[in-house]
């Protein structure tokens, strides 16, 4: 591991200045559960680690009157699942943050870090997509250097994303999902904890008031493409159609069809395509159940 300096800025301005100065040779850490492992494996040679946990905007959960929530990029998993309002309003997020790593990892790892690590198998990204979450990003250009990017547009490849030099993910904003909405995330792992998804599915649905027709849907798959994979065909198979097994099977089949995984030590192509369909079906059903309350 290349010996790096430790910086712990107290403001976004300081953080982006440090990241801008070092470019590729610095990484921010919140929990460090990915970055420190990768630095130790010599994936990068870093001159500096920028610890962002002293920056207020990155460490807060804010609930807004309109029912939306902003989760600071460095908020650890346990603070998210111990937040009763998030538990009540965003159970699909809870599904993910309760399964990332074990208890020790959940003390440190953040949803923002999970997103910035940009692994196709990340458990946190698909449910964020299901909730139509938006990334608030700050850049090195001063107070006006902010931009918003939809989570589904954030990742650009395994381990890569839209963040440019000096940019930092500040927070994730989840809009109020409204009534008749449900979301859920599940992954397949061979053990019961401490594994990386062989495949995962994050789904949200919005039903009509009668609860018998899909009005909107998001279907995203983990670990079956170079990035967390949004499946428009599966969403289209649901929207406007009645809530029944045939509709859900059609969407699940579309998910399995869209998956374009690789074979590796965690699973084979066939297994992952198959699991994509199974998990999509199960998560659509679970999302419907939650939507119906």
């Amino acid at each position: 591991m290349h010996p790096f300096a430790y910086e712990a800025p107290g403001s976004i301005d300081e953080a982006v200045a440090l990241l801008d100065k070092h470019g590729d040779r610095a990484r921010p850490i919140a929990g460090g559960t990915d970055v420190l492992v990768q630095a130790r494996a010599n994936r990068w040679d870093l001159d500096a680690i920028v610890d962002v946990k002293n920056i207020p905007e990155l460490t807060q959960i804010s609930h807004y009157p309109d029912g939306s929530v902003s989760i600071g990029a460095a908020v650890p998993c346990y603070q998210i699942y111990e937040d009763q309002k998030i538990r009540d309003s965003f159970p699909g997020i809870i599904d993910a943050v309760e399964m990332i790593g074990g208890i020790q990892i959940q003390s440190r790892a953040s949803l923002g870090g999970n997103l910035c690590n940009s692994s196709p198998s990340a458990d946190g990204i698909c449910p964020l997509i299901a909730y139509n979450a938006v990334c608030h990003i700050a850049g090195p250009g001063g107070d006006d250097d902010h931009r918003d990017v939809a989570v589904e547009d954030f990742c650009t490849g395994p381990g890569s994303n839209v963040l440019g030099r000096g940019e930092i993910l500040v927070s994730l904003v989840l809009p109020n999902p409204g009534a008749n909405f449900g979301a859920a995330y599940e992954r397949f792992i061979p053990r019961n904890e401490m594994d990386i998804a062989v495949a995962g599915a994050g789904v949200s649905v919005k039903l009509n008031d009668a609860g018998d027709t899909f009005e909107a849907a998001r279907v995203a798959l983990a670990a079956v493409a170079p990035v967390p994979l949004v499946v428009p065909a599966a969403e289209a198979a649901l929207v406007g159609n009645p809530v029944n097994d045939a509709t859900i099977e059609a969407a699940a089949a579309a998910a399995a069809d869209a998956a374009s995984p690789i074979s590796d030590m965690r699973g084979t192509i066939d297994q992952r395509k198959h699991l994509s369909g199974v998990l999509a079906r199960r998560m659509i059903n679970k999302a419907v159940e939650r939507a119906r309350g």
Partner: protein, 165 residues
């Protein structure tokens, strides 16, 4: 770590509390909390198993939350409080978990034991009466290769019963 100058960036000044005692030292900025405890503070009860957060042998409590100390930098504990296995026993004697681990034969080689003890304490401090599934779920981040976990779970149950009695 000797006082011979190590290559790389300057050491970081840390003031922290470890097992209730104030400590102040300089630490290389890239050094893990695990190595900081073992090599600088001199507490070798916290064990190295994997260095990537997958075995829990290095579990310590950081401001009351259990963490893998291999995935924390020593520099990060400035101003914080760390508890290790060495801090579990008190003047009155062993912590009930330590006593239960002995009585229930919950250790064989013992390398994972400090991590399991600190993790189990983290559970019982917050949830005095967890059921077996909750214990197994909480401890899933701690690998044991010797016991098959059965006697560890029994020991945590026994300590839980004694602490709430």
């Amino acid at each position: 770590m000797t006082t011979q100058v190590t290559p790389g960036p300057s050491r970081v000044h840390v003031r922290t509390t470890i097992n209730g005692n104030a400590h102040e030292f300089l630490v290389p900025p890239y050094m893990s909390l695990l190595d900081t405890l073992r090599e600088i503070v001199g507490l070798t009860g916290t064990k190295e198993g994997c260095l990537d957060g997958n075995c829990g042998a290095c579990t310590v409590s950081l401001d009351g939350r259990i963490v893998d100390s291999c995935l924390v930098l020593g520099a990060e504990i400035d101003g914080k409080s760390v508890e290790t296995v060495e801090g579990m026993a008190s003047a009155e004697g062993l912590h009930p978990l330590q006593q239960a681990f002995l009585e229930e034969a919950a250790l064989q080689c013992g390398i994972c034991t400090p991590g399991f003890l600190v993790a189990s304490k983290g559970l019982l401090d917050n949830e005095p009466a967890p059921d077996e599934h909750r214990i197994r779920h909480w401890l899933a981040g701690n690998l044991c290769r010797c016991t098959g976990y059965d006697k560890i779970v029994r020991a945590v149950q026994k300590a839980s019963a004694e602490m709430s009695a």
